[in-house]
């Protein structure tokens, strides 16, 4: 606003990049059919639950699977909530 504003204004970080990064994460979650989001996630989730069931008691909705993409790095996050008689709050995380 000041007359010499252009000289005094500190260089702000590029907000456009922040916008892009935020959207990249968000859109990977809000998968739309026919997009780059892998469609094997629900099947993978079922299979993982099957495997875990062999060893411990878990309900279908105790397992949460998420895929994130950021700067060329994808991460698959698997969270398993265990009932009181099993150990609590254990989670597995795998990066590729």
């Amino acid at each position: 606003m000041s007359l010499f504003g252009f000289a005094l204004k500190p260089r702000r970080s590029k907000s456009a990049q922040t916008a892009k990064d935020r959207l990249q994460i968000l859109l990977a979650h809000e998968s739309r059919s026919g997009s780059k989001e892998p469609d094997y996630l629900p099947k993978l989730q079922r299979d993982i639950i099957e495997v875990i069931r062999k060893y411990m008691k878990v309900q279908d909705d105790d397992v949460m699977i998420r895929m994130e993409r950021e700067n060329g790095l994808s991460s698959l996050e698997i969270n398993i909530e265990m009932s009181a008689d099993e150990k609590k709050g254990e989670s597995a995380k795998k990066k590729d």
Binding site: S13, K20, R32, S35
Partner: protein, 280 residues
């Protein structure tokens, strides 16, 4: 420039959609349909925004509306009575919507019937979708062959466009019948190269990477758009401007021409006008 095409009509349905409001759907629907008509294609543009009729204002025919889309669907008027012939371009017609009814007045069967009728006479049927993803928007896209997803280089618009692209791929007749999917393209509007250069605005490449669909065109932020709407002129029929040129290019691509992408830009204010604080 305007000559009637004698061959059988193409009967192509194009939806102009976006999810988010205020990104330039109606402006784009008006400009694209006028651009198609200018090229000699028999074109009709339909307002699907029942209850918030605005296409008639942008097209400058608001005082000529007698019957509307809803009257036709409900059998109170014939299609020919509701269609308004544009006075500037011979091959262009407008089908306004109702200002007093709500979206429930639209029925799938009614929309299908009207589109079927229009396909007999028109090359391009341009559907101006309402904002949102409710009934009106879903019906506007349901019978589409192609889609123009109007997007601003801004987070909420890009997110909504992504959502709409998902609906186009699943909630349309083409998707449900397993036909070739709706051909969706992004039209980037309110593009501001100066702000991109400063890192304040996402670039075209950023948006395309996020949405992963082809680009139909880039319309620069322009004072010509408001000016044209003030006087009820589709941008391409108003005085020459960067925005008009961008829409003409987009229309050329829409009909299959190979036009290189240009990033048009408003002239930046000179030093004098900047010093005196005049802004557009």
């Amino acid at each position: 420039m305007t000559q009637l095409k004698d061959n059988t009509p193409l009967g192509k349905v194009i939806v102009i959609t976006s999810g988010k409001g205020g990104v330039g759907k109606t402006t784009s629907a008006a400009a694209i349909s006028a651009g198609l008509a200018k090229r000699g294609y028999r074109t009709v543009v339909i307002d699907f925004d029942v209850g918030l009729r605005n296409l008639d204002m942008i097209m400058g025919c608001e005082r000529r509306v007698v019957f509307d889309f809803i009257n036709v669907i409900q059998g109170d008027a014939r299609l020919k009575q509701a269609l308004i012939k544009d006075k500037r371009v011979e091959t262009l017609s407008i089908l306004p919507t109702s200002q007093t009814r709500d979206k429930d007045a639209l029925t799938k069967e009614g929309v299908e019937e009207v589109l079927k009728e229009l396909k007999k006479d028109y090359d391009y049927i341009v559907c101006d979708s309402p904002a949102g993803i409710e009934r009106g928007a879903q019906l506007a896209m349901y019978y589409a062959d192609e889609a123009v997803v109007v997007t601003n280089p801004e987070v909420s618009s890009v997110r909504d466009s992504d959502r709409v692209l998902g609906l186009l791929a699943s909630k349309t007749q083409r998707a449900e019948s397993g036909e070739e999917p709706v051909k969706a393209q992004v039209l980037l509007t309110r593009h501001d190269q100066a702000r991109i250069d400063k890192g304040e605005m996402m670039t075209v490449e950023d948006v395309l990477e996020l949405l992963a669909v082809p680009l139909l065109g880039i319309v620069p932020e322009s004072t010509a758009v408001l000016r044209a709407s003030n006087v009820g002129m589709p941008v391409v029929l108003d005085a020459p401007s960067n925005a008009a040129a961008a829409y003409e290019d987009a229309v050329a691509r829409l009909v299959g021409e190979d036009v290189p992408l240009k990033v048009g830009q408003e002239k930046r204010p000179g030093l004098i006008s900047r010093l005196f604080g005049r802004s557009a």
